[in-house]
Symmetry: C2
Subunit: 97 residues, 2 copies
DNA sequence: CTTCTATATGAATAAGTGTTCATATATGAA
DNA sequence: TTCATATATGAACACTTATTCATATAGAAG
């Protein structure tokens, strides 16, 4: 049962690394069931607009979030259910400790 | 659907952060289906004994691995199926990209 | 065109992290 | 006890990363 060829080791680590920051975890958490624009995310998790924007850039680059533009605002949402699954499994693990 | 109270945000991030290093990913990968002692892990993933030991300490502190002593050797294994589940879900995500 | 709001981004700084190297500890064998 | 092997650990260093601050971009409203 060897799930990884050497090439993918880095990719896996990079994926989990993205879930490994509390600001990004907060962003993912508030996006679990709805899309939000940047400033609403910032308000919701009480982090500066700039910091949220920087982190969204990372989440976007990893294709963990998608976005759509509506006038002046940009709404972000989780890319797919896979992101939710990984996140929820992590939550379950924590809750069982 | 708000899975996190503020208190747990850090815990979740800390959990994923542990999966977010390629040396630790390699260690988890070789422990998926068997236990191994430290020097065998080091050989298997081609990383120094010291580096492996340092990373095992982190995995141990997070209760992601368990260990047993046999004479001179210390065999490490994944703590439980939860660790495997999270890891495999990450692998699936990567393989689907 | 000007102003206001929303978002992005670059630079700088501070904090965190992984590896290496040297060494300590501990167990087994002789 | 002495030697060899397995593992752990502390310090140092290089590297990465998240935030802040200032500023740029862009769209909407007046």
């Amino acid at each position: 049962m060897n799930l990884l060829d050497e090439d993918k080791t880095i990719d896996i680590a990079e994926l989990f690394k993205i879930f490994g920051d509390s600001t990004r975890v907060k962003i993912i958490n508030v996006l679990l069931d709805k899309e939000l624009c940047v400033c609403d995310i910032a308000k919701a998790i009480n982090v500066s607009q700039s910091a949220v924007s920087h982190q969204l850039r990372i989440l976007k680059a990893a294709k963990l979030v998608k976005f759509r533009k509506v006038g002046n605002c940009i709404f972000y949402a989780l890319s797919d259910d896979h992101v939710k699954k990984i996140f929820k499994l992590g939550c379950e693990h924590i809750n069982e400790l």
